[in-house]
């Protein structure tokens, strides 16, 4: 099997599995219990919160809220901030549904949802953005790295400029595809909250974290025992948290090594795939995208047909085009990333992780080229 869909989810790292198994057996107590077992777990979890903040370059002023998924973390911010009728919020139409859908929900309550514009390269159009005064804006929610194209958006730059206009605007960054993959130092950034997810970095599913400034007021969505500073009641899943941290710390530690390796693999694909399959288009340059995500367009063959033929060879990649080639609606994300609508059904996302090897990439190039040639030969439309 060749797995090239790391941006969707990644295999669980050995270190995380070990921690998870050990902790599931031993850490059965409720961290909220008043006895020693509970207190020990609480202390251990609090220590992990501190370590996580340290690894992200944060010294003080932030909290780590453990939640069940990145979707929950994004919802907690977007729906939990006191955003009222008439307020404005800013999001990117290229973003993940966990940001767009709760924002559109606010729209029903009379909140104005403004869309960020993207330029010809798919980056955020700063000229358009800074034509705004940001006086009424209550929130900017944006992914650091786009989950489909891999674009690294100009967060640092944008945040600084926006905060110059309006200090009180809440900046929420979804770092799911960024943390552990590209260098992020929260110390210099003025962002108010950040989402990170365990299963995107080799940890188990069912656990994620919201890193949020201590002075931010959020309305909790889940009420009960008052865990997580009363922002998210639920018994803390200690074994998941420990396993998450094991994966997170390994990812942060090996980030440079990982980046170098994936940079080389990306170069290899971009150089060699066109030799075998000249029609392939890489719509976005390597310089503006994360090394782990590579978007490809095959103009002659629909992506879902290619994906299924690869699947038969046990090579797994994603396509985000419509589920059916008869569904001719444009893809909103692709439109805003400035991908021509004739190509919307021809986009494939390849995403790599630390276990991806050159051998796998070579096999992928060989197989997709053969399949592509074959399909063109029989004239599949």
């Amino acid at each position: 099997m060749i797995y090239l869909d790391y941006a969707a989810s990644s295999p669980v790292k050995e270190a995380a599995i070990k921690v998870l198994m050990h902790s599931t057996v031993n850490d059965f107590a409720n961290p909220s219990s008043n006895h020693q077992l509970g207190l020990d777990l609480t202390n251990k979890i609090n220590l992990i919160r501190e370590k996580m903040l340290n690894l992200l370059g944060i010294k003080r002023g932030y909290r780590v809220i453990f939640v069940s998924s990145a979707t929950e973390a994004n919802n907690l911010v977007i729906r939990g901030l006191a955003i009222k009728k008439g307020d404005h919020i800013l999001i990117s139409p290229t973003d993940h549904p966990s940001i767009k859908v709760p924002s559109y929900q606010l729209m029903k309550d009379g909140v104005n949802v403004d869309a960020l514009e993207h330029d010809g390269e798919g980056l955020i159009d700063e000229k358009h953005l800074f034509a705004k005064t940001f006086l009424k804006e209550k929130l900017l929610a944006l992914s650091y790295v786009n989950n489909q194209s891999g674009h690294i958006f100009q967060i640092d730059d944008i945040v600084k400029k926006i905060k110059e206009h309006n200090k009180s605007i809440h900046i929420h960054v979804d770092g799911v595809q960024a943390v552990g993959k590209i260098n992020i130092n929260m110390r210099d950034m003025q962002i108010d909250s950040l989402t990170i997810s365990s299963h995107k970095m080799g940890g188990p599913k069912g656990i994620a974290a919201l890193i949020v400034k201590e002075n931010v007021d959020l309305n909790p969505m889940i009420l009960g025992g008052g865990q997580e500073y009363s922002l998210r009641s639920s018994t803390l899943a200690a074994p998941l948290i420990f396993a998450f941290f094991a994966a997170f710390s390994e990812a942060m530690e090996k980030q440079d090594e990982f980046n170098l390796k994936l940079s080389n693999l990306k170069d290899y694909i971009m150089e060699n795939l066109p030799k075998h399959c000249p029609e392939v288009i890489f719509p976005f340059s390597k310089a503006i995208t994360s090394h782990h995500i590579l978007m490809m367009i095959f103009p002659s063959i629909k992506s879902d047909i290619l994906i299924r033929h690869l699947e038969m060879k046990k090579i797994y990649l994603s396509t985000s085009s419509a589920c059916s080639s008869k569904n001719n609606k444009d893809n909103e994300v692709f439109t805003h990333l400035k991908i021509k609508s004739v190509y919307h059904q021809n986009v494939i996302r390849l995403s790599m992780g630390d276990e991806t090897t050159l051998d796998e990439i070579q096999t992928f190039i060989r197989e997709i080229s053969l399949i592509h040639q074959d399909l063109i030969g029989i004239g599949v439309k």
Partner: protein
């Protein structure tokens, strides 16, 4: 809830000496449906052309709706029974009316009398009961309307009872299940084939569904549609099966060897060939398709004729003379419409030439078929060996067997 159902049978009067066999077939289907939905033993009595079903618990709406799908039934009436005494009817009508959320304004009485020894004829009974309703149940302020009544009080006078009903659920009519042969039904995700299948349900055919799954050219979404469709169609059967044939590689193989403008015709020919092979394996009788004359290029008379000439089985095409709007209307009635409209990949369209052949050259096509007969029959048998098989239960639930 009603504890009594009077189920009337359609077309039984057409039958002569084979009447008991037809009666048994339909009774078995009714028993199976009611036992499934009621989860209790349902005593069923034959009364002339009717089945009288009784339930301890009372019949659920779900069970009645399921009976409406049993081929061969004319109608289902949740009823009350009284002895052979006209005076006892009025209290039951009162009970009926008092349980209605909205009391109708107009009514009429219709009587059917199979008990010819009963001293009054149908007209007399109707008139008398109508009169009693006006007089004794004046609190409901009903008036008679024989043309367009809001309420029909239906009376059935049998040898031992009078049955009173105010609501009639129409059945789909036709012939009982499994009395008109076993057919292989070709299904695609479109409008036509499910409607064709439905029509043959009415004619009492047992059906085994066949789907050509052109993976990896089409995706799982098409198979999901087919499973939804057989979930609906299977409710007209008393247990049926779906065969899913992996057809992508075979279609690709054909594409490599046939002239481009003959591709679609060729797919058709070999789909029918595969259906004929399955028919032989299952000892079935014929094949059903949703073909409509001249609807698309592969359905021209020339193309249908040449394919028929090469198909070693009888092909039934119940929709051959239907217009699209008529087909869509039926699809709405049987609830397949909304599934058929879900967009799906179509492998035939994917491979389709710009200009498909309309008047095929018999010499080329027949010789292609003849030369490749052994090779493709072998491949089709392999495809059949690899088929996925699904069991569809009486309530449309699907279980993958293989």
């Amino acid at each position: 809830m009603y504890k009594l159902l009077v189920v009337s049978i359609d077309e039984l009067w057409l039958k002569g000496k084979n009447r008991p066999a037809y009666f048994r077939a339909i009774k078995k289907h009714v028993v199976d449906v009611l036992t499934h939905y009621q989860d209790e033993l349902i005593p069923i009595k034959n009364e002339e052309q009717r089945l009288i079903c009784t339930s301890e618990k009372g019949f659920t709406e779900e069970a009645i709706l399921a009976l409406q799908k049993v081929p061969g039934l004319h109608s289902i009436q949740p009823s009350r029974a009284v002895e052979l005494d006209l005076e006892k009817i009025i209290d039951e009508v009162d009970l009926e009316l008092s349980s209605m959320s909205e009391v109708p304004k107009t009514f009429k009485v219709i009587t059917k009398r199979t008990n010819k020894r009963f001293p009054h004829n149908s007209m007399e009974i109707s008139r008398y009961i109508g009169h009693l309703i006006l007089k004794k149940l004046s609190k409901y302020k009903l008036v008679v309307d024989v043309h367009k009544p809001q309420l029909v009080v239906s009376l059935k006078v049998s040898d031992q009872h009078i049955y009173i009903a105010t609501k009639t659920y129409p059945g789909i009519g036709g012939q009982p299940f499994n009395t008109s042969g076993h057919l292989i039904t070709l299904l695609s995700g479109g409008f036509d084939s499910p409607v064709a299948s439905f029509l043959m349900n009415k004619r009492g055919c047992r059906q085994t569904y066949l789907f050509f799954y052109a993976y990896p050219f089409v995706g799982q979404n098409v198979l999901d549609k087919i499973l939804k469709l057989v979930g609906i169609l299977g409710q007209y059967q008393n247990g049926s099966k779906l065969y899913v044939l992996p057809f992508g590689e075979f279609q690709k193989e054909l594409t490599d060897h046939i002239k481009p403008d003959y591709r679609t015709l060729c797919f058709r020919k070999y789909m029918l060939e595969a259906a004929a092979l399955l028919k032989s394996r299952l000892k079935a009788d014929a094949i059903i398709t949703g073909d409509v004359l001249s609807q698309v290029s592969s359905q021209t008379i020339g193309n249908l004729a040449i394919v028929d000439q090469l198909t070693p089985a009888m092909v039934l095409r119940p929709l051959i003379g239907f217009n699209k709007s008529e087909i869509i209307e039926i699809s709405r009635k049987i609830n397949t419409h909304d599934i058929s409209t879900i967009p799906h990949d179509d492998a035939c369209a994917m491979f389709a030439p710009k200009h498909p052949v309309l008047r095929p050259d018999p010499e080329y096509f027949l010789s292609f078929a003849k030369e490749n007969q052994a090779k493709y029959e072998g491949l089709l048998n392999q495809v059949l060996d690899q088929a996925g098989i699904y069991q569809i239960s009486i309530d449309g639930k699907i279980n993958q067997l293989k």
